[in-house]
């Protein structure tokens, strides 16, 4: 089977090539796989995730999303590709403070060129699916952390992407909210059949995945399937 995501000897250099945030990472992520990335702070997890999500480009090496070689797309092609294929979830939610939930979720659809009525219908539906049907017109500062992260997940799903990448999605949440958010992410994998990549510090989050890789100094130090899944 063709990989959902393939990295070939990816390097990301900083400080004029003196520092390698990623130092030769090769990795295949299967379709519908639930991959966990762990490792110490500074080990290159976010950098890896950004490159997998086509938000960042490697200094060296190749990135394929399905059949498409992302590392040779133009800037605008990359933006279009990211919008259609990838959904991002961040530790700090990154909602637009001046937009209510509905408009935050509709934002990727706006950039997709979808007309307002349809956009908001779709956004409302997504918000309902994450249990926020009653908070369509709340602004981010009128929502709890867990609610904000659910808005962010709804936004990541707006263009029905194949791949969801989440960078410490529960890092800023209390355990109850974290549980709720994890259930939703897990459902994306189990029910929606999405390819999911989650960066985390926490073992109980990692336990939900099918496969776990450990990062150390910009390299993969361990790669293994969990519980024989």
């Amino acid at each position: 089977m063709e990989a959902a995501l393939r990295l070939k000897n990816v390097k990301k250099m900083y400080l004029d090539g003196k520092f390698a945030a990623l130092n030769g990472v090769s990795l295949d992520v299967e379709r519908e796989e639930f991959l966990i990335i762990m490792g110490r702070s500074g080990s290159g997890k976010s950098t890896l995730l950004h490159i997998m999500g086509c938000l960042d480009t490697p200094t060296d090496g190749e990135v394929y999303i399905g059949k498409v070689k992302a590392s040779s797309l133009s800037r605008d092609e990359l933006a279009d590709f990211r919008r259609k294929k990838i959904g991002f979830v961040f530790q700090t939610f990154n909602l637009i403070p001046n937009l209510d939930s509905l408009r935050n979720v509709a934002l990727p659809l706006l950039f997709e060129g979808i007309e307002k009525g349809e956009r908001e219908k779709k956004a409302a539906k997504l918000l309902e699916s994450v249990g926020l049907g009653t908070k369509l017109h709340n602004y981010p500062n009128e929502l709890s952390g867990g609610e904000r992260q659910r808005v962010a997940i709804a936004r990541a799903l707006a263009n029905n992407p194949e791949i969801i990448v989440a960078d410490e999605p529960t890092g800023n949440l209390d355990s109850a909210s974290a549980k709720h958010v994890l259930e939703i992410i897990s459902d994306l994998h189990l029910k929606e059949k999405k390819t999911v990549v989650v960066v985390t510090h926490e073992q109980y989050v990692a336990d939900m995945g099918e496969r776990i890789i450990y990062m150390k100094d910009g390299r993969i130090s361990q790669d293994g399937k969990l519980r024989g899944k």
Partner: protein, 399 residues
Amino acid sequence: MIADLAEYSVMNLRHRSMRSWLTIIGIVIGVFSIVVMISIAQGLDKYIRDQLSFLSDDIITVNAGSVSASTGGGLVAAARDLTESDLNALKKLPGIETGGGALAGRAKMNYRNQNISIYVDAADPVLFTEMFTWELEDGRWMRENERGAVVLGYSVAHDVFIHEVQVGQRVNIGNKSFTVVGVAKKGTALTSSMDSLVFMTKEDGREVIPEFADNTAVTEIDLKVVSGANISEVQSEVTDEMLRRHHVTEDEKDFTVMSSAYVAEQVGNITGALSLFLGGIAAISLLVGSIGIANTMLMSIMERTREIGTMKAVGARNGDIMDIFLIESGIIGIVGGVIGLVLSIVVSWGMNQFGVPSSISAEVMAGALAFSFVVGVVSGYVPARNAAELNAVEALRYE
């Protein structure tokens, strides 16, 4: 898409409404001062033109004497008068439809035993009836070759004599008896000097003004150009003819040829320069306003760095981000422009109430709006481009 992005821009402006309004005020002041300054210059232009409207734009005037550099710009004493034969020759030129001569000078006027020295303007009636549209409040102008008929200036009829003079009454001028056939309307600011004149035919003038008694001199020749002719071409033909007739070169010219089109052009030059000067001074305040926009946009973009990273993460193209910020600064510009324009219309109206001529043309209105939008977009351009070119990952890491 643009409309959707605009909605997003408006929400951002509203959420920073205090700062947005302060920035807008900068543009309001700029647009307001430019429009008011230009409106004053245009008002002045319109005022002067209204005052000059008695001059039809197809008249060429020849006067004796000439403005020359050798006298430091002063009028050279008329070395030689214009004559009836100059008039007749000029009237025959191809570009000329009709024309007439005028002579002027002082004479004694007597009415009901009151003696006053008045100024007589004696001219071919065609000048009054066809070429200069001076209106009468009563009666009629003299007829061609009519003798013994006068038209009185407004104040000669109403103010100069203890008893008002009316149409049909008889007056004495020089040693000759005249019938008053008309009274002119009160002149405007520029033509009020006509109010104290007495008008009669050239033939009568030669009888009552001593200097013109025994000769064929005239002080002024007015010519009407055939319709459709190029007035400045005809003007130079007239000049050439006069040079030939007076046997002088361009440098020795002893006459002056003018046209109302030329006068209007001069007025336009002066008020145009005034517009430019006043508008230029006011433009400085718009420049300050536009720096305000650039500053506000730069601040706003810095504060929203993470937001920009997020938009890129959810698939915004660089162009989308550029558009969002350009629309934002464009809105600041155009809202400032609209408010500034409304304010200047009110102030211009107020100035007119107090007698300061001021006029805002549709072109200036449209120009002010377009200009303020352009100022907004231009001053937002560099900040917007900076925003669009932010590195997404770095923007997301920005604290």
